[in-house]
């Protein structure tokens, strides 16, 4: 096909049905081999890994993970002196893992077990005068951290403890002339960063500051003939962009601009029929990260077998409703 050199071709015998039980078994079996090289050496993102597994199970309407074990693990990540959470026991606290921790605590209904003031203080102290957020004490800035900060605070019902206005101003400085967003001012537009910026603006109730159609155009350019979505021009499609791109489009009310049936076909083709789980693309190795975002993408696309997912926080919508959170999304007519 002319003009497309970077895409995949879906085989005729690729999976085409959602393998619910297989995915449940994959997630539940994932943490059992804790001595494997891959498991041990991925401790630097363990809190997020647990969040991916737990959320995936919730979308599968499964509650088999023991909540006490989850609570014990996440509290081992807590740094009482600084008030934030690290990725695992031996790690410095960071905004990325503080958000994952708060999301986990919300899902196991243990938000009240944590010192809310301390966590809020950890987050708020990372905000800089230009509105950006450091990820941790070492000073790295990224729009992902703005999203993590806003999302953490909104779950804890303390959004306005930070300076939302300057936070939004920083996000807007990361908007590029193609209408999409990068991680810092001037950096290349990237679908993952777009999700973070759109999510942050949604939490702040500032979606009207976006050029919706220009952004939606850029997001829809991510769809390739295989139906899959990539994160930037000339990159291969990846199931995780079924979340980053799709949820951003959902928030701005433009999912109807995508070819949904072909996207569903791509996501389903990325399942592993033997082991369960989703990979980044058909035929590759599965992992919990792509499993969550494959399921979340299918949920957003209306799969009735899955629990409804909130497009801003990537948590079950029922939980977001129970927490009383009203997160801005635009209708298709906006």
């Amino acid at each position: 096909m002319s003009g497309f050199h970077k895409d995949v071709i879906l085989k005729d015998d690729a999976p085409s049905q959602l393998l619910l039980a297989k995915h449940r078994d994959f997630i539940l079996g994932y943490a059992k081999n804790q001595s494997s090289y891959e498991y041990v050496m991925s401790e630097w993102l363990r809190a997020s890994g647990v969040y991916w597994c737990l959320t995936a199970l919730k979308l599968l309407n499964n509650s088999d993970l023991k909540e006490d074990d989850l609570f014990e693990f996440i509290m081992s990540c807590y740094n009482d002196e600084k008030g934030g959470f690290g990725a695992s026991e031996n790690h410095d606290p960071h905004l990325l893992y503080t958000l994952s921790a708060v999301q986990i605590l919300a899902m196991i209904d243990r938000l009240d077990s944590v010192d809310r003031d301390k966590v809020v203080k950890f987050v708020v102290h990372l905000q800089q005068t230009d509105g950006s957020f450091w990820g941790d004490e070492w000073g790295e800035v990224d729009t992902r951290f703005t999203f993590c900060a806003f999302a953490t605070l909104v779950i804890l019902d303390r959004l306005h403890d930070c300076d939302v206005k300057t936070g939004v101003q920083f996000v807007l400085q990361c908007k590029n002339f193609d209408g999409a967003f990068g991680c810092v001012p001037g950096s290349e537009s990237h679908a993952g960063q777009v999700f973070c910026c759109v999510g942050a603006l949604s939490i702040a109730n500032k979606l009207h500051l976006l050029d919706i159609d220009q952004l939606a155009w850029w997001l829809c350019e991510r769809q390739l003939p295989s139906g899959g979505l990539n994160g930037r021009p000339e990159k291969l499609p990846d199931v995780c962009y079924s979340w980053w791109v799709l949820s951003a489009l959902k928030i701005i009310g433009r999912t109807h601009w995508l070819d949904k049936p072909s996207l569903i076909k791509f996501i389903l083709a990325s399942q592993d029929e033997e082991t369960g789980g989703f990979a980044d693309r058909p035929g590759d190795m599965v992992d919990p990260f792509h499993t969550l975002f494959g399921l979340a993408g299918l949920s957003l696309l209306g799969d009735q077998h899955l629990a409804k997912v909130n497009p801003v926080l990537c948590l079950p919508q029922s939980l977001v409703d129970d927490l009383g959170l009203k997160l801005e999304t635009l209708s298709p007519n906006s």
């Binding site: 002319s2 003009g3 050199h5 002339f177 290349e188 350019e221």
Partner: protein, 301 residues
């Protein structure tokens, strides 16, 4: 783990740590199927696949054991070696980078050699895993907090590090963030001119990588901001010339999505800044009839 294995692993840690610290201009680090744990030949380092995994697990376990001990010269020296090796074997784990940052904080003012070593180690780390943000984060932290190590030579080596990692891993998002940070943080007109020339060469030899084009666009914005503020004509000319140049490339490589994206970016900028070039551009590309051209012509700039 058997004691003999531990002794062997500790020796390998020491050897690897020395190689990383002492070898000038290490060109590559790779993992190969081999019986020898480490092979260093003409500045190319190879680790055996077996060693890579076993050493990673051993080093991590030993690091966690030693970090709990009281500070002593022997304990600190072992942790120094282990963290040196671990930022190469598992560079995504910021635990080891943060440990090394704390080591730097204990350096006195005249110990700049230790700080230069940190820059070298972050560069080494990228040889094995070029798509990793932590080495760049470490370099930015060093250059922000220790201006005494900033020089023309340091800047050049940072740009080289970015170029090498961008070559090694296509569409390397982290490389380009760092490159732009270096230019913005250590701006000079001489540096900007060199980069504008370099970015043109890079673009022409990597036309399927939009990152290089986004970077060049930012250089033009910086250049424009430093021009005579009264000279709108000059600024206009810069971007009109760039549009014309990119159209030339598009006419030569019409099936290249990145070029169309860059052209779209430039036209959006020009439209926002009342620089007229849309009509001429559409006229020049009128005969191209592929998916990219169709989408481009549908857009409202």
């Amino acid at each position: 783990m058997a004691n003999d294995d531990n002794v062997d692993h500790l020796r390998t840690v020491e050897r690897l740590s020395n190689i990383l610290k002492i070898t000038p201009n290490l060109k590559s680090i790779s993992i190969i199927q081999h019986d020898e744990p480490l092979i260093l030949e003409e500045q190319h380092l190879a680790l055996s696949k077996k060693t890579f995994k076993e050493l990673g697990l051993f080093s991590r376990q030993t690091f966690l054991k030693f970090i709990k001990k009281e500070s002593s010269p022997s304990r600190d020296s072992t942790l120094d070696e282990l963290s040196t090796v671990l930022i190469v074997l598992n560079p995504d784990d910021n635990k080891y980078w943060n440990y090394r940052k704390r080591l730097c904080q204990k350096c006195s003012k005249n110990q700049t050699d230790k700080l230069f070593l940190e820059l070298k180690l972050s560069s080494c780390s990228l040889k094995l895993k070029p798509k990793c943000s932590e080495p760049f984060i470490h370099a930015r932290w060093l250059l922000t907090n220790y201006r005494e190590i900033v020089s023309e030579q340091t800047i050049f080596s940072q740009l080289k590090m970015c170029e090498d990692s961008a070559e090694h891993y296509k569409h390397n998002y982290y490389s380009w963030i760092h490159r732009l940070w270096v230019i913005k943080t250590f701006f000079s007109t001489k540096l900007l001119e060199k980069e504008l020339e370099w970015s043109k060469g890079w673009m022409e030899s990597h036309i399927s990588q939009f990152c290089g084009m986004n970077y060049r666009f930012n250089l033009l914005l910086i250049s424009s901001a430093h021009q005579n503020p009264d000279s709108d004509v000059q600024k206009c000319k810069t971007f009109v010339n760039e549009v014309s140049y990119v159209v030339d490339l598009v006419l030569f490589y019409p099936e290249t999505e990145s070029l169309w994206c860059y052209l779209g970016l430039l036209l959006s900028y020009c439209s926002t800044n009342q620089i007229e070039c849309r009509d001429n551009t559409l006229f020049r590309v009128r005969s191209i009839d592929n998916r990219f051209a169709k989408r481009f012509k549908e857009r409202k700039f």
